[in-house]
Symmetry: C2
Subunit: 197 residues, 2 copies
């Protein structure tokens, strides 16, 4: 009983992650009823992004140019390569202002159950990139989730076998964390990786 | 440090209700990385819906034709008019298969704090529609939320002043509901509106 154009829009909105039939309907009503200009902008931005966004040839992050700004920068330390899962992680790393090397963005993490294997996260490209002769250390900055850990382990083994220095972000109690409220796994890691003062 | 096309897409996605900056970024990555065809379909569906979907001249629901299927149907009882807030509510009413009259879809509810007044929910059109000479009863089927109740009250007063019969959906214990777990407001209503057997 719904018009076909509305039905199609609701179905199309369901491609968004975390959006089920009810949210999709709510979004469609909102766009059509209260924010038609926003809907036009969204349609345009989607088309524009699909046409203009590619992956940086070096770091695999989204980029409009063949090589992204970070990889093209001359102020970066080209001997360090941080491996992150997603562009959002890249942004977080940049926000810390404590890392001045280059990146490789996997655009995912190993997750066989979701059909995401070594191919989908471009491990072959990462290995070629890491073996360019300039990179000396690869810093594994994937998440500390089971998938992120498995991804870090796999990449670490592959790169160590090729003679590269590989490191992993430190695990431990977060800044401002109180021992009473930190989960025991984190605390156990913090004890094991304790630093000499 | 993000490419402009990506930045624009993330901002554009934030027009969707309930989508903040982090979800918008996650959606953009997902579309660009894992579902480019879905993104194309979405852009197309948005454009198509914006061009082809209008409001039914009679019931105000979304429609591709000037008068929607329900309003145009000859099998409907034109003496009853149910007033609902959103197309989703219209769909729910239809799903009950217990109502064969016509509808008026407000496309919202009175909510002065959100800037939604009588004009935004088309009260003038509703009154003209209800006074077409054929409608005998207006059934207020807005939600039982504070805004929905206020909307029903306002519409009810306006229509009763013009001599129309006005009714409201019954309040009470839901089917399968156990008194122990029903909130006291609902139970109080169920006692007050008790039916003679």
């Amino acid at each position: 009983m719904q018009p076909a154009a509305l039905e199609s829009l609701i179905n199309a909105l369901r491609v968004l992650p975390g959006v089920g039939p009810k949210s999709a309907a709510r979004m469609a009503y909102h766009l059509l009823q209260r924010d038609r200009r926003g809907a036009e902008t969204l349609a345009g931005a989607l088309g524009h992004a699909l046409t203009h966004l590619h992956h940086c040839r070096l770091c695999n992050n989204f980029s409009e140019a063949e090589v992204c700004e970070v990889c093209a920068s001359t102020r970066r330390d080209r001997r360090q390569l941080a491996v992150v899962e997603m562009p959002a992680d890249f942004n977080m790393m940049e926000a810390t202002q404590s890392y001045n090397g280059l990146y490789f963005v996997l655009m995912g993490r190993l997750s066989p159950l979701d059909g995401i294997g070594p191919r989908e996260i471009h491990l072959d490209r990462l290995i070629n990139r890491a073996l360019d002769g300039t990179v000396e250390e690869v810093i594994l900055a994937t998440n500390f989730t089971p998938e992120g850990e498995a991804t870090a382990h796999t990449i670490g083994e592959l790169l160590k076998a090729r003679g590269l220095k590989v490191s992993r972000l430190a695990r431990g109690v977060p800044v401002g964390g109180e021992l009473e409220y930190v989960d025991s796994g984190t605390l156990a890691q913090a004890v094991r990786d304790r630093r000499a003062l």
